[in-house]
């Protein structure tokens, strides 16, 4: 995991990785190699300032849990697909595309899954007006002050420790 921009914390009983979108796929490849073989879930989240993709992983043998998330701006929600690592995330990525418009590059069959093909926008975005909630004049919040990514060496040490 050297050279990847991510932050690793422990929340409750799982490890949480915040990762730079460009290093999303390399980090997941490294995690797959570490033994996280079971895909629990993949969800999109509209954080109010941008979109977040959260992947929940589990190691069948080790019993360890990991959560990986990365933030994307509204105007370029593009991410590399990880369906070749975990084919079980195929429909979850389609769902995230359907409900949030996050485009996964390299997905074998990126179509809408729950909604019809001609649905206009992606309904789980906060700006999607359902009649009163959220408010019609909703504006995106400013992107939060980016916390510094950990130094690659530090991350390597953390992994070894």
């Amino acid at each position: 995991m050297n050279g990847l921009r991510f932050r690793k914390t422990a929340e409750f009983d799982e490890e949480v990785y915040a990762v730079h979108p460009e290093d999303y796929r390399p980090l997941l490849e490294a995690l797959k190699a570490e033994g996280y073989d079971y895909p629990r879930s993949l969800s999109g989240v509209d954080m109010g300032y941008g979109l977040r993709v959260v992947v929940h992983l589990y190691g069948i043998e080790s019993g360890r849990k990991a959560t990986v998330y990365t933030d994307l701006p509204y105007d370029a929600p593009e991410l590399e697909s990880v369906t070749d690592l975990w084919p079980g995330l195929e429909w979850f990525e389609r769902e995230a595309y359907d409900l949030f418009g996050i485009r996964f590059k390299g997905h074998p069959d990126l179509r809408r899954i729950l909604l019809e093909e001609d649905w206009t926008i992606h309904p789980l975005l906060k700006r999607y007006d359902t009649g009163g909630y959220p408010l019609p004049d909703w504006q995106p919040a400013p992107w939060p002050e980016p916390a510094p990514w950990e130094e690659p060496e530090a991350a390597g040490e953390g992994g070894e420790a």
Partner: protein, 376 residues
């Protein structure tokens, strides 16, 4: 019309028949549409389409306060209604830091396992209906009725009781509850041999199920299958053991697995799970004190601290996870439900292609999808 059909006939090929199985088909258990190409009786292509029952729970739940959301979670897997409330409640309890009294945990566990039996009974009846036997359907629904009556007596509703809440359960159990459940268990144990005789031991059923729809261990893990489907492929993955919740750490039970990965193994695993559930409920009934607190201390206004939590439980169909993102207000920023049938249905192209048409029905009934949770 829902989108274009993705299976186009191959030009010049006349021996392939393209059939829309569903959404109005007796064996799709709801509103699944599978576009399949058959060559005689052998399936050459299969493309599942879902979403006919989509209500966008997740959008509705963003606009509701935390206690209100519990009501909506019931409506996902309506066959095992009560079980769906738990992952959301566990996640919010983690974010709130609420302590659940042990008695409430045991009551939750008893109901959880009762609904597992109820759900498996529905699966058994409808699954055998798909395989052509009508009689087990009537028997299982008659037995399930007893569970629903027990639930109604305590929780006030039969299928979607809205009974669990943050920190415990909404009200104490009915005074007859323990007696009723013990009676049901005794009754159910006299019924199980009949189900074995009618289903698992029946040579006609075995001819239909053994070696059909084989799912390998690696494929099951990679596809994220869960519940009886993954356990029938030889993976002892059970959320009750992997990340125990409620009273499961104190209870002794086994995780039945079978290495074959075929339809018969999935049926067998569900049968054994019903037996394990009976054992679990018996232990829990012994441990539960007759009186005591049934609800922990919860602040009147549920406002979890900002953060995110993913909790999973093992409902009848597998790994049901709920991811709650809180921004510190009364309403969650995002609630994501990871439903087991949704992931299991991804197996349709893997399992259908190469099977015979009649096998497809058996495979579908062994996956046991419920479309309330697939489409949410």
């Amino acid at each position: 019309m829902r989108g274009p059909t993705t299976v186009e006939p191959v030009p010049g090929r006349t021996d392939e028949l393209i059939i829309n199985m569903g959404p109005q088909h007796p064996a799709t258990h709801g509103v699944l549409k599978v576009v399949i190409g058959v060559e005689g009786e052998r399936i050459t292509r299969a493309v599942p389409h879902i979403g006919f029952l989509h209500r966008n729970h997740e959008k509705i739940e963003e606009a509701r306060t935390y206690p209100q959301i519990i009501t909506y979670t019931d409506r996902m897997d309506y066959v095992s209604g009560l079980q769906n409330e738990l992952p959301f409640i566990l996640a919010v309890e983690d974010l709130l830091g609420v302590e659940v009294p042990p008695r409430a945990k045991l009551i939750r566990t008893i109901f959880f396992e009762l609904f597992r039996i109820a759900s498996h009974l529905v699966w058994l009846g409808t699954g055998m209906l798909d395989l052509g036997a009508i009689t087990p359907f009537l028997y299982t629904f008659r037995d399930r009725e007893m569970i629903l009556e027990i639930t109604e007596k305590t929780a006030g509703a039969r299928m979607l009781p809205n009974y669990f809440t943050f920190g415990g359960v909404r009200r104490d159990v009915h005074p007859d509850f323990f007696k009723d459940v013990a009676h049901f268990l005794d009754f159910f144990e006299t019924r199980l041999p009949d189900y074995y005789a009618l289903v698992l031991d029946s040579p006609v059923f075995q001819a239909r199920a053994v070696g059909v729809g084989v799912l390998s261990r690696e494929r099951a893990i990679a596809r994220g299958a869960s519940g009886p489907v993954i356990r029938a492929s030889g993976v002892a993955y059970d959320v009750r053991k992997a990340e125990p919740y409620d009273a499961y750490p104190e209870l002794e039970f086994e995780v039945p697995t079978r290495p074959e990965g075929d339809v018969f193994a999935r049926f067998w695993v569900r049968f054994k799970e019903m037996e394990e559930s009976v054992k679990i409920i018996r232990q829990a009934l012994e441990k539960t004190p007759k009186t005591g607190p049934y609800k922990g201390k919860v602040p009147p206004r549920v406002k979890p601290k900002p953060g995110a939590r993913y909790r999973a439980v093992e409902i009848s169909r597998g790994h049901l996870g709920t991811y709650v993102v809180s921004d510190g207000s009364e309403r969650p920023l995002r609630v994501k439900h990871r439903s087991p049938s949704f992931a299991n249905l991804q197996l349709i192209p893997d399992l259908f292609v190469g099977a015979r048409f009649a096998d497809a029905i058996a495979i579908l009934s062994s996956l046991d999808p419920v479309f309330g949770e697939v489409d949410r």
